[in-house]
Symmetry: C2
Subunit: 233 residues, 2 copies
């Protein structure tokens, strides 16, 4: 098994010792009223796997997580949020203190303009929901970042590479994990994923279908490289 | 413990033998595009507990479930759906064949008028989402029902009893489980619930806070009564 071989060569259990990592995971929920929300189909599994792999590699790892029923990986600290604005606050508050940021969360691009305090009663007719844009956390981090390694995710349903390359350049990330969520065995709720790693220099690594934890361990290997650390190879 | 005492008197392991039950659970998801959806905050826990209690009481139990990570209770058959329209189809297809229907799912009242085939790209400006009403499955079942026992749930955030009594009469249900989801220890995601059982004759039973499985077992006792079965008491 490739990953097992890598583990033997890299000694992933210590190579991020002394580093601090922040991972976002899950899909934010934007309340319409106390009962209804705008959501998106992220299960949180990819982000939780990344947090586990970073922790296994020795990094002190915080997981800023939108609602999910997944168990917190051992040794990882979870901070629970619901909305994009809450996630932004928690990430920005910790940003300057960490070495590695992996934004695996699916953050809602829009939220309802008005949030009703009581459950909206239905009246049988149509209605219109006014939406306003949420801040772009990844772009904001890309602007602010100094020495941090910043990893983004791009879930696309069409024109995967063009959209992902554009996203990486606009947002100043060091590595973008791109996946086509319409593929069988990739994306939402699946235990496996089919991803490509894209780099600002134009490099692209395509992976076959593998478990999200295996993807996460490959990602940790690249993070180690990006941090410029000496790795026995 | 009250429930344990009831269990001893009622012999809940056999009293629904030969009966067929259908339970709906979870919150439907109404897609906006392949990634985003309109959701609601049901965890599915109450419905799964009801399915477990019905199965324990001997009923052949089918669970029509919106997306959730909960394990299927042993002996229960799960049919997975995502949207309100899919849930309606699965429930109506089985309706004439069952003796007991418990509608614990939180079904979206509205769905987006248009579902985009590809992920909608954001452009930084506001936008408007047009919504159209979904069919009212509970009211439809109330109109069609013959000998079936029909149980509804009412999650309210204000005017709980007035809203719930009105709902019961409009929808021709035999018992309505009402809970105020704003209370601590009640409703979404909580392992416990604080409910009242309302009956068409005006009877009302208020329960203290208890686990959702205990609520489910009290509900099974009332279902046995509603079916007019002979219970050792």
């Amino acid at each position: 098994e490739i990953v097992e071989t890598l583990l033997r060569f890299f000694d992933l259990s210590t190579c991020l010792k002394g580093k601090k990592a922040l991972v976002t995971a899950g899909g934010t929920q934007e309340p319409i009223d106390p009962v209804r929300y705008l959501g998106n189909r992220s299960s949180g599994r990819m982000g939780y796997a990344v947090a586990q792999a970073l922790q296994e590699a020795g990094a002190e790892t915080i997981l800023v997580s939108a609602p999910t029923d997944l168990p917190v990986p051992q040794g990882v600290t979870r901070v629970s949020v619901q909305t994009a604005l809450q996630m932004r606050d928690e990430v920005l508050a910790r940003f300057t203190d960490v070495d590695i940021i992996v934004k695996a969360a699916a953050v809602a691009d829009y939220r309802p303009a008005v949030q009703a305090e009581q459950k909206i009663k239905k009246d049988g007719s149509g209605r219109t929901l006014e939406l306003v844009p949420n801040p772009d956390i990844l772009a904001e981090l890309g602007q602010k970042k100094t020495a941090q390694v910043l990893i983004g995710f791009a879930a696309e349903t069409e024109n995967l590479l063009a959209n992902a390359q554009g996203k990486m350049q606009r947002k100043n990330v060091d590595l973008l994990v791109a996946n086509d969520v319409t593929k069988e065995g990739a994306g939402f709720g699946s235990p496996t994923n089919i991803v490509s790693f894209l780099f600002p220099d134009g490099r692209k690594i395509d992976f076959p279908q593998m478990s999200k934890l295996e993807v996460a361990r490959h990602l940790v290997k690249e993070i180690v490289n990006l941090l410029g650390m000496n790795v026995k190879e």
